[in-house]
C-alpha cells in the first residue's frame, strides 16, 4: 500500500487520524466562550486503566487519566 503522494504531516509524525481529529476538536472547544467552554471541556475527560498482556501474563496496568490521582 505504498502511496506516492506525501503523507499528511500528522501521519508522518506518528499520529493516527483519531488523535488528529481529537486535537482539532480540542482546539474548537477552546474557542468557545464561557460558560459553554467549561461545559464542553467536561466532555473531554479521559480516564481508564489499561494493561497489556503477553503470553498469558499481565504487565503492570497504567492509568491514563486527565484527572489528578488521589
Amino acid at each position: 500500500m505504498a502511496s506516492n503522494a506525501a503523507v499528511p504531516f500528522w501521519r508522518a509524525a506518528g499520529m493516527t487520524y483519531i488523535t488528529y481529529s481529537n486535537i482539532c476538536a480540542n482546539l474548537v472547544r477552546n474557542c468557545l466562550k464561557e460558560p459553554h467552554k467549561t461545559e464542553a471541556l467536561t466532555r473531554e475527560k479521559v480516564h481508564f486503566s489499561i494493561s497489556k498482556w503477553t503470553d498469558g501474563k499481565p504487565e503492570k496496568p497504567t492509568v491514563r487519566s486527565d484527572s489528578p490521582e488521589e
Binding site: 503522494a5 483519531i18 481529537n22 475527560k45 480516564h47 489499561i50 496496568p61 484527572s67
Partner: protein, 323 residues
C-alpha cells in the same frame, strides 16, 4: 433459602405430631428451640422476626438500586440514540461483513465493571468465545481485547494466552467520545489486526438487550475486498478530492470507523447494563416480598401455637385445682 426449608421441615410435626422420631433424627441443630409438652418443635418468634427485618431491609436496598439504575438509564439512553447516527454512514459506505475471511482477527469484548446486572456479561463472553472458535484454524488466529472487569474475570479463566489488552475503570467519568477514541487509538497502536469484531449488547428496549457483533476491517482488507467486487467494489466510483490517494482515505476512514463503532458499542452496552440491572433488582425485590409473606405466615403460626399452648396449660391447671 436453605434455612426456610429447614423451618418447613420443622413445621411438618405441627401438622402430624406423630412423626417426632423422624424430626428428632434430623442432623440440623437449630438454635432457639422450644419443645412443647407433646414433643412438638417450633421455632422461636425472635429468630423469625430478625429474619423478617433483614429481608425487609434487603428489599428496600434492591428497590433503591432499581431507581438508581432507572435514572442512569435515562441519562445514557439519549446519548446512545444520538450516537447511532455516527456509524450508520460508515455501514452504508463500507458495509459490515462478519463473514469476511481474514487471518488475524481481534475480538473486542465489552462488559461492565460492576455486577448485579443479570446475564449480559456472560452472554457477551459466550459470543466472544464462539467467534474465537469460528475463526481458529490453520493460519488463522484470534486474540481478545477485554473492556470491563466482568469479562476479564471470565476470560482469564480459560483464554489467558489469547488476551492482548485489558481495559478497566472506563466509567469513572461520564462516557464521552474523547475517552473512547483515546481507547480506540491505544488498541490500534498496540494490536495488529486484519478485522476487529466488537461484541456488545445492543439496547433495543428496557427489557431486551441483544448481543451483537460489529466488524471493522483494516484498510488493507478493505482494499482486498474492494478488488474482489461486491459492495466495496463500488468505492472506485467515488471521486477523490484533494491531494490524498484512495489508500490514504481508506486508512483514515477505517480508523475513524473503528472509533465511532466503539463509541456506539460502549454506550449501548452501558444502556443494556443499566436496563439489566433494573430488571434484576426488580425480580429480586419481588422475591424478597414473597419471602417476607412466607415468613409472616410462619411467624403468625408460631405465635398462635404458643398462645394456644399457654391457654391449654392455664386451663388444665385450673381444672386440676377444681377437681
Amino acid at each position: 433459602m436453605a434455612a426456610l426449608r429447614r423451618e418447613g421441615r420443622r413445621f411438618a410435626p405441627l401438622i402430624s405430631p406423630r412423626s417426632i422420631t423422624a424430626v428428632r433424627s434430623s442432623p440440623i441443630a437449630p438454635t432457639h428451640e422450644d419443645e412443647g409438652p407433646i414433643g412438638v418443635r417450633y421455632i422461636s418468634t425472635q429468630v423469625v422476626r430478625n429474619r423478617m427485618k433483614s429481608v425487609k431491609n434487603i428489599q428496600k436496598i434492591t428497590k433503591a438500586m432499581k431507581m438508581v439504575a432507572a435514572s442512569k438509564l435515562r441519562a445514557v439512553q439519549s446519548k446512545t440514540e444520538n450516537s447511532r447516527g455516527l456509524w450508520q454512514p460508515f455501514t452504508a459506505l463500507l458495509g459490515d461483513l462478519p463473514s469476511v475471511d481474514v487471518k488475524k482477527s481481534v475480538v473486542v469484548t465489552i462488559s461492565s465493571d460492576k455486577g448485579l446486572c443479570g446475564g449480559i456479561n456472560s452472554t457477551s463472553v459466550k459470543i466472544s468465545k464462539g467467534i474465537h472458535k469460528l475463526n481458529s484454524g490453520p493460519e488463522k488466529e484470534t486474540k481478545y481485547v477485554v473492556l470491563g472487569e466482568k469479562a476479564k474475570a471470565q476470560l482469564i479463566r480459560d483464554s489467558k494466552k489469547d488476551i492482548e489488552l485489558i481495559i478497566t475503570e472506563l466509567q469513572k467519568n461520564a462516557l464521552n467520545y474523547t475517552q473512547v477514541s483515546v481507547l480506540a487509538d491505544e488498541i490500534l497502536k498496540n494490536v495488529e489486526f486484519d478485522a476487529l469484531r466488537i461484541v456488545f449488547n445492543k439496547f433495543h428496549s428496557v427489557v431486551s438487550f441483544v448481543p451483537t457483533v460489529s466488524t471493522v476491517l483494516s484498510p488493507e482488507i478493505v482494499e482486498r475486498e474492494a478488488e474482489s467486487g461486491g459492495k466495496l467494489g463500488d468505492l472506485d466510483n467515488y471521486e477523490v478530492e484533494g491531494g490524498e490517494t484512495k489508500g490514504e482515505i481508506l486508512q483514515n476512514l477505517a480508523e475513524f470507523q473503528f472509533s465511532c463503532v466503539m463509541f456506539n458499542a460502549v454506550l449501548e452496552n452501558a444502556c443494556s447494563e443499566q436496563g439489566a440491572r433494573m430488571s434484576a433488582m426488580d425480580s429480586s425485590s419481588r422475591n424478597a416480598g414473597d419471602m417476607l409473606d412466607r415468613l409472616t405466615l410462619t411467624y403468625n403460626r408460631t405465635r398462635q401455637a404458643s398462645i394456644t399452648t399457654e391457654l391449654i396449660e392455664i386451663i388444665s391447671g385450673a381444672s386440676a385445682l377444681e377437681g
